[in-house]
């Protein structure tokens, strides 16, 4: 028996991951696992190894194989119907979500899918949405086969309950059309207005008249179509008895348009069509920028995105695939390994080992015995189990939480922003000025009354406020996004700036879901023993076992004589003629009367119990620093679903005023937030699991923390990549700066308005002055907002 020594790091040719000790060799290439090798074989046989030439190690790790008949449910007609986009005699169109898409190799491979299966006609990838639109000939293949083919090359389609329940959200493109029309008309109106400004000879009357009427023509689409964006929004809020920022803008646009029409038709001048269309154009640009969406992320996920589309039901000992909504009380479900529990039920057969990390963030699986209740949302990681449904999907614990009435209503975005309030004051002031100007001129020079009053209203358009608001918001959203903090919309920026209380979830949020923090108690282990233990531990895919192997930090391995894994209990094997056992206390001591201690693994070599490994939560990097910064400015709470083992540590971290609660159920968390809000607090909730979902939605701002932006997060206002959590305070400060920038830009724009007003009240606002004021104020505001927000972001050393 030889000591295999591999100190060099071998990368898997397929996925680029570490190949451990025994790289699998095939075609002179090394693979980390059988799965990766098999994908390579498939591609190699089909002459598609260019996959590896486009990007380096493009594959997806295949160590965890997908259950063979996982996609059997796709043979079900009803489910097929719900997935098919289009179908006729010789072709079927279907769309799959493939979360593994990540590089150009993926794009190439998937778009060449027809080379792996002749019945596939085309496969088109939408990289942004990670979707594959597949057209195939249903006479020669099936949806199931395609799903399995995709899985076999490492792109397992993600099919969830959501796919049958909701239609795909369509992106509203009307703003883009409006923008295009406004841009076209604006450019041409500008062109036709210039001659007048640039001193066209008044004797060229014909030309002037033609230009003016062309302008009228070109302004129609801007006024009636492009501008409708603002009319609709103003009308909606007016109906709710609320004056939002669009209302004065609409008034101003209408006044400008009518006055311009009057001027042109009475042959008095060119009117202000260029200013009007310019304003509409720039405001639309701002809105489009602000509406920047992170298409690959979803802020609206509810339980349906997590739940499978179908499960296996046992009826008279026969397996039967049923769509999830058809599950009824007292059905017996067969839950396979790695499957999600879709409904609350009682374990009737098998040994359950449930990973509730989806729900709680805690990734140490929980053991359940026969007769125990298993709640929906957990994932079975042991063998197959059978479950008697005691609550329908819609009635189960998690779903009920979601369906609570107070969570169903959407927050009213519009009316919260300070911008609307500001614009209201602004509007009244300008109304006053307009009326005074009109009154003044009605006494002095009656002819100028209307000119002056309408000119004031043209100038009074708070579009500068809207522009600075939308452009700053858009830019801040972009900057935050670059730092992996994605916000659902612009209103969230302001909400973040306004919070005064922060609530953290503990597991998965403040701590990582992984267990690298291990404390060993017992007889000291020598190097030889460490290698032996590691050689054993590495064989299991159980997270605790894997964590022990990596904690031991030994790169050498022995070959195992015998290895056996007892699901939910532990593992044992013979290494170098020694029997080593790792597992729970009951398993290792072989004494069923012992009480298991959570998060602890016992070690037995031969017949001696050498010691135990206890797992401790691993707090994320720099969290203590973050907390220290935050606790000076915000009230803090930690709501943990776990036991209170780390109470002391948290107390030290958060200061004595912080509220720390343990054993919090999802509804407790929700309740806690509501409690805080009742005392007038504006609360930000930061969590990661489904158990935080209610709280996230209830909070003024709910931020979901995720390990990488592709994994699932519950519905929230923002998604924050976990390794950026320590910069939360900086992000909040940037959001606060947002308001100051808007105010500053607004003050500048008021200066422009004063200049404009000084002409307007005297009845001297000429189209040319308006044409100069409009773009110069617009451009300076854009420069200010972009410049300032970028400068501040840079100062905060954000990307």
């Amino acid at each position: 028996m030889s000591l295999l020594s591999t100190n060099t790091y071998v990368q898997c040719y397929h996925c680029g991951e570490d190949c451990d000790v025994h790289p699998i060799l095939a075609h002179d290439k090394q693979f980390c696992c059988e799965g990766c090798r098999m994908v390579f074989e498939i591609l190699n046989q089909n002459g598609m190894c260019d996959y590896y030439a486009i990007s380096k190690n493009p594959g997806i790790n295949q160590r965890i194989r997908v259950r063979e008949n996982k996609f059997a449910f796709l043979d079900d007609g009803a489910i097929q119907q719900s997935l098919i986009v289009f179908k006729n005699d010789d072709e079927t169109h279907i769309s799959f979500y493939l979360p593994q898409i990540h590089c150009s190799s993926c794009l190439w491979l998937l778009e060449n899918l027809h080379r792996l299966d002749d019945a596939i006609i085309r496969c088109k990838i939408n990289f942004t949405r990670k979707e594959a639109d597949i057209v195939f000939d249903q006479r020669f293949t099936s949806i199931r086969k395609i799903a399995e083919l995709l899985t076999s090359i490492g792109y397992e389609p993600y099919i969830s309950l959501k796919d049958i329940q909701h239609a795909k959200p369509t992106i509203d493109k009307s703003k883009i059309y409006k923008l295009g029309v406004a841009g076209f008309c604006f450019a041409n109106i500008m062109l036709l207005s210039f001659p007048e400004y640039l001193g066209i000879d008044s004797k060229e009357q014909n030309l002037l008249v033609i230009f003016r009427y062309l302008n009228v023509l070109l302004s129609l689409p801007v006024f009636f179509y492009s501008g409708s964006e603002f009319y609709i929004s103003a009308w909606k809020s007016l109906k709710h008895g609320f004056l939002n920022i669009d209302a004065p803008i609409v008034l101003s646009v209408i006044v400008t348009f009518c006055r311009s029409l009057y001027e042109v038709f009475t042959n008095q001048g060119v009117g202000y069509f260029d200013s009007m269309s310019g304003i509409v154009f720039f405001m639309l640009v701002g809105r489009v920028l602000q509406d920047k969406t992170y298409e690959q992320l979803s802020f609206e996920r509810d339980y349906t995105s997590y739940f499978p589309i179908a499960v296996t039901k046992l009826k008279d000992k026969e397996e039967q695939t049923v769509p999830l909504p058809d599950i009824q009380l007292n059905d017996t479900l067969l839950i396979h390994s790695q499957e999600l529990i879709p409904a609350d039920g009682i374990l009737t057969r098998g040994k359950a080992l449930i990973d509730y990390s989806f729900v709680t963030g805690e990734s140490i699986p929980v053991e359940k015995e026969m007769g125990e209740i298993i709640y929906a949302g957990g994932k079975q990681i042991g063998g197959n189990i059978e479950l008697l449904v005691i609550k329908e999907v819609a009635q189960s614990y998690l779903t009920k939480l979601w369906n609570r009435e107070e969570l169903q209503k959407n927050k009213k975005d519009e009316e919260r922003s300070f911008v609307h309030l500001l614009s209201r004051y602004f509007t009244w002031i300008f109304f006053a000025i307009a009326i005074s100007a009109a009154v003044y001129w009605s006494f002095h020079d009656h002819a100028k009354m209307w000119t002056a009053a309408t000119a004031v209203l043209i100038v009074a358009c708070p579009c500068a406020l809207l522009l600075s608001n939308t452009f700053t918001n858009g830019n801040i959203l972009r900057r935050l996004g670059r730092n992996h903090f994605y916000l659902r919309n612009a209103q969230t920026i302001e909400d973040i700036a306004n919070i005064d209380y922060i609530v953290f979830d503990k597991t998965g949020t403040l701590t990582t879901g992984e267990y690298h923090h291990i404390v060993y108690e017992g007889q000291p282990l020598n190097k030889e023993m460490k290698i032996k233990i590691a050689s054993l531990a590495v064989q299991s895919t159980h997270p605790m076992s894997k964590a022990i192997a990596s904690w031991l930090n030994e790169s050498n391995r022995y070959e195992l004589m015998v290895f056996e894994e007892f699901t939910g209990k532990g593992i044992e094997g013979i290494v170098e003629n020694e029997l080593i056992v790792l597992g729970s206390k009951t398993f290792v001591t072989d004494n069923a009367l012992e009480k298991d201690i959570e998060s602890t693994v016992y070690l037995k070599v031969g017949n001696t119990i050498l010691g135990r490994f206890s797992f401790q939560n691993n707090y994320r990097e720099k969290i203590p620093t973050l907390i220290k910064k935050l606790r000076n400015h915000y009230g803090l709470s930690v709501l943990s679903g776990d036991n209170d083992g780390e109470k002391k540590y948290l107390k030290d971290l958060l200061g004595h005023y912080a509220n720390i609660s343990f054993h919090q159920k999802p509804e407790d968390k929700l309740e806690a937030i509501q409690q805080l809000q009742r005392t007038g607090r504006k609360v930000m909730m930061i969590g990661d699991g489904l158990n935080d979902a209610g709280a996230l939605k209830q909070a003024n701002v709910g931020i979901a923390v995720t390990e990488n932006s592709n994994t699932f997060t519950p519905a929230s206002d923002g998604i924050l990549q976990a390794n950026q959590l320590h910069r939360l305070y900086t992000f909040i400060r940037l959001c606060k700066a947002n308001k100051r920038i808007i105010m500053f830009a607004f003050i500048i724009s008021i200066l422009y308005n004063i200049v404009g007003l000084s002409f307007a009240v005297k009845g001297l606002l000429s189209p040319m002055k308006a044409a100069i004021l409009m773009p110069s104020s617009t451009i300076s505001i854009l420069l200010i907002t972009f410049g300032l927000s970028n400068l501040i972001a840079k100062k905060m050393s954000l990307k």
Partner: protein
């Protein structure tokens, strides 16, 4: 034959109105072409030409990877 300044100015001015026709012609041509492109723009947004900005630039590189 000599001409007074007045005549010169007169020529200058009168000839400008002469420009009307050609400017109108250029306007008609330019605006109709621009409208054509506006229509093209709307078509391209409508048919989802710009729905995915990530894959098209990558996709054109794949010609060279064939069987």
């Amino acid at each position: 034959m000599s001409l007074s300044r007045a005549t010169i100015t007169n020529i200058f001015v009168d000839n400008q109105s002469n420009l009307v026709s050609v400017i109108i012609l250029l306007l008609i041509a330019s605006i109709s072409v621009a409208s054509l492109f506006l229509a093209a723009f709307i078509w391209s947004v409508k048919t989802g030409q710009y729905d995915d900005e990530a894959s098209p630039p990558v996709r054109i590189l794949f010609d060279d990877f064939k069987k």
